[in-house]
């Protein structure tokens, strides 16, 4: 890998893209495996700052290199938030890197993930053109939805420069309940039943290293106390204090539970797959797993890089797909659908392959 270029403006970035045969943008490097390919590296760190924030519109526009924690702070000052719990904000994750990586946090359960909150992008395509796609209003159906496509595209189709998001008013308060489950089947049942309940839970996660389910509720404080009683009538558990609760969610958001420098893999999941997945990974010594968002995704931390081979086979057998965020392991894991159209779309956005192919 060569030294990184750090264009200070979109104009400079366009020039860079036009001048190098193989490029890849990166943000703060918090999910380093995604950009660990042979290419000239473009840092977007200088494209930083909030361009527009109008609380009454529920939207903001910011440059791709803006640290998400700055946005989270600015939104909080006006009583608003990104409901999908952006990950690795303390670690410095940027807005552009978050979108390119396509990973959302536990809160995606309530109102959806990154793709449900992105409204518009500006990006530089492989032809070296700065393009604006989508819009800046909360509702828009004009043109193909390129902004959504770029969520999880790992920078393989262009360099993100500016993003527009929808935001929501923060709930008046939150309350986290810890529910004890004896085994993974019981924990899974809690996820399914709670996600289908009347409570409108904001997050439902199985904590790493235990079968405890953490449930986050949002709304007026008094109402949440009443809902909590209703939840406890169904399953035993405890209310967590604000400090304890924030520590749990923050540790999950920041991946403080993983093996350092070992592969970290995100898996798209369904609740029904949780028990078979748990049973199958028993044989992986030291493996840690966090099931998030009501069982719709899991993060797996391997104890050794060589376990990646076995995990790959396991996910294939379960027809699941994953992507490696950190550590030495193949980028893609499990089922990898490859359609001819993927090549054609790559050619449409990046005909000279200035950005690495998706499967590299």
């Amino acid at each position: 890998m060569s030294t990184a270029l750090a264009p200070a403006s979109v104009t400079e970035l366009v020039e860079v893209v036009r001048s190098y045969p193989r490029l890849l943008a990166f943000g703060a490097g918090t999910k380093a495996r995604l950009s660990a390919v042979n290419a000239t590296r473009i840092s977007v760190s200088q494209l930083r700052g909030i361009v527009e924030y109008e609380p009454s519109e529920f939207t903001f526009t910011a440059l791709a290199g803006t640290p998400v924690r700055e946005l989270v702070r600015t939104l909080a000052e006006r009583g608003q938030y990104l409901p999908f719990d952006p990950l690795l904000t303390d670690a410095g994750a940027t807005l552009g890197g978050t979108i390119a990586a396509g990973v959302s946090g536990p809160g995606r359960l309530r109102f959806g993930g990154l793709k449900d909150f992105i409204l518009g992008v500006q990006f530089v395509d492989g032809l070296g053109r700065a393009l604006r796609m989508g819009g800046k209003v909360v509702k828009n159906a004009a043109g193909f939805d390129v902004p959504k496509f770029l969520v999880g595209s790992l920078g393989r189709f262009g360099v993100l420069t500016e993003l527009t998001f929808k935001v929501f008013p923060s709930p008046a308060s939150t309350l986290t309940l810890k529910l004890a489950a004896g085994d993974i089947e019981a924990a899974t049942r809690i996820l399914v039943e709670a996600a289908n309940s009347r409570w409108e839970t904001h997050a439902l996660d199985i904590l790493p290293g235990a079968y405890d389910v953490c449930m986050r509720l949002g709304g007026p404080a008094q109402a949440l106390q009443e809902i909590a009683d209703d939840v406890f009538a169904r399953w035993p558990g405890e209310k967590l204090g604000d400090v304890d609760a924030e520590k749990i969610w923050s540790d999950l958001r920041e991946f403080r539970w993983v093996h350092a420098d070992r592969p970290l893999i995100k898996i798209a999941l369904m609740p029904t797959f949780i028990p078979p997945l748990y049973r199958a990974v028993q044989r992986f010594e030291g493996l840690r797993i966090h099931v998030s968002s009501g069982g719709n995704m899991a993060f797996v931390s391997l104890a050794a890089p060589k376990q990646a081979v076995e995990l790959n086979e396991l996910l294939r057998n379960l027809s699941l797909s994953g992507v490696t965020l950190r550590g030495e392991a193949p980028l893609w894991c499990g089922l990898q659908p490859r359609a001819e159209i993927a090549q054609a779309v790559k050619h449409a956005l990046d005909p000279e392959n200035r950005f690495p192919p998706l499967h590299e």
């Binding site: 009454s56 959302s104 109102f111 604006r132 043109g143 709304g219 109402a223 995100k266």
Partner: protein, 481 residues
């Protein structure tokens, strides 16, 4: 070429599902945008996904244009046929293939009607969120093609936010499967790119939709105001309070008149605008939030406030709102439904200018809009028998769209570009962006056979024709929004 190609079609479908006769084709000549009418070479009526795949591959071999069609409710002319091509009518692919209450999802064929999904999900306490006003007739395939919206988009998003997986045949003939039962995905969001393609990429064969638990409690309030401004101020106050209603809708005086005439809706006397706000959620939350909302509305200088006391009253409020468009047919022989978006804080200004522009054009304009997300639906009334009236209405519609873009909004919130707005795509996007759209289109459809003539500005536009209301609209079956 065309005739021999059509003869070969008979190998793909039995004769009763291949329509060639002019009287058979007539019903397919136009959609919800009745100002356009084109007779296709033939209409094909497949009953299975395999038949659709065979038809699309046949069209690719023959370079024969095809237009997929559900119930034909597009308001942007999205399913307007092509004279040199065929229509693939998907209504018979109307099976709900799977309904999984545990995973809260439904796998449906494209011809399934929007409300049928919620009806099937209801016994499990679930529902399908996107609710376009034509939901009792429009199909999921069409909703996916046009990324349809509805009244509840601010909180829960449009169709695109509810599509978890797709099996589709692309115009290249390739059959793809993207996503599945998980709400999360790995890699680029292909379903997101496909949703809203306006039929230019191919045809969805199986759609996996996310279902949501039906809210336990609703609090639906209708407030009448003596001016649109006052109603708009109330919206601003609600947004500023930090409440997140499921829907915030406004109807102006002319729209109210129509709703009164059509469904006997009753509104507070002396009101020039009506605001509908709906909170939803667990009973404990709604009990507290509704008290806050009621306090805000009590201070909003309303001339009258009515709360729905039960499900029946809630439905009545929504019926007046959802039928407002077709109801306008009672006030005027013809009308155009427009669909633009402005930043919410500029709604008042936008409505004033719509009023000025329509007065200058000598046309009446009713306004119904999704105030929560700045989505305007001006209904431009005209009499098509009057020479030049349709053209004046079209000019006014265009001015409104330009205004939306100038204010930082969009030329469509939920109806799509279709035929109607294709000349306005360059108002919103630059030449490079449009080139990028065209390159994407070419990737999915190298021969330009899938719904040609839509979305992109055309060299030759079909002439506008005055055709009056759609027959189904006259019968009150179809409503435009």
């Amino acid at each position: 070429m065309a005739l021999s190609a059509l003869n070969r079609l008979t190998a793909l479908l039995p004769p009763e599902r291949l329509l060639f006769q002019p009287e058979q084709l007539a019903a397919y000549e136009s959609d919800g945008l009745t100002a356009f009418r084109t007779r296709p070479l033939a209409v094909t009526i497949p009953e299975t996904a395999d038949e659709v795949i065979a038809l699309v591959r046949f069209c690719r071999e023959e370079k024969l244009p095809f237009v997929a069609r559900g119930s034909g409710t597009s308001l942007s002319g999205g399913s307007l046929p092509v004279a040199s091509g065929i229509v693939i009518a998907l209504n018979r692919l109307n099976r709900i293939l799977r309904l999984d209450p545990e995973l809260r999802l439904a796998v449906v064929e494209p011809g399934v009607v929007n409300t049928q999904v919620s009806q099937a999900a209801a016994p499990h306490g679930l529902h399908y969120s996107p609710d376009p006003s034509s939901q009792s007739i429009c199909t999921i395939g069409g909703n996916v093609a046009f990324n349809s919206g509805g009244a509840h988009c601010l909180k829960y998003g449009m169709t695109s936010n509810h599509v978890l997986g797709l099996r589709a045949v692309l115009a290249t003939g390739e059959v793809v499967e993207w996503g599945g039962g998980s709400r999360e995905n790995v890699g680029p969001d292909w379903c997101g790119l496909f949703t809203g393609n306006e039929g230019l990429f191919g045809i969805a064969l199986e759609i996996t939709l996310q279902l949501l638990p039906r809210p336990e409690r609703f609090h639906t309030v209708l407030a009448g105001y003596d001016s649109l401004e006052r109603a708009g101020d109330a919206v601003s106050a609600i947004i500023a309070s930090g409440l997140l209603p499921g829907a915030i809708e406004i109807m102006d005086a002319l729209a109210l008149e129509a709703a009164r005439a059509s469904v006997n809706a009753e509104y507070p006397p002396g009101c020039e605008a009506v605001l509908i706000v709906e909170l939803e959620g667990p009973r404990e939350v709604v009990a507290l939030d509704s008290a806050r909302l009621d306090a805000i509305l009590a201070n909003s200088k309303a001339v009258g406030i009515r709360q729905a006391r039960d499900a029946g009253e809630r439905l009545a409020i929504w019926k007046g709102r959802k039928n407002a468009f077709s109801a306008v047919g009672r006030l005027s022989p013809d009308f155009i439904v427009q669909d633009g978006v402005v930043p919410r804080r500029r709604l008042g200004e936008a409505l004033r200018r719509v009023g000025e522009m329509s007065r200058q054009a000598g046309l009446r304009c009713a306004n119904v809009f999704h105030a929560g997300d700045g989505n305007l639906h001006p209904l431009i009334l005209f009499d098509g028998r009057e020479p030049g009236a349709l053209e004046r209405a079209e000019v006014l519609a265009g001015e409104i769209l330009r205004m939306c873009v100038a204010m930082g909004g969009s030329i469509t919130g939920e109806h799509g570009i279709g035929v109607e707005k294709r000349d306005f795509l360059p108002v919103m996007f630059g030449a490079d962006e449009i080139d990028c759209f065209k390159r994407l289109r070419e990737a999915f459809d190298p021969f330009g056979i899938a719904n040609p003539g839509k979305m992109f500005p055309a060299e030759q536009a079909p002439a506008l024709q005055h055709r009056g209301l759609h027959p189904l609209e006259k019968a009150g079956v179809l409503s435009r929004e």
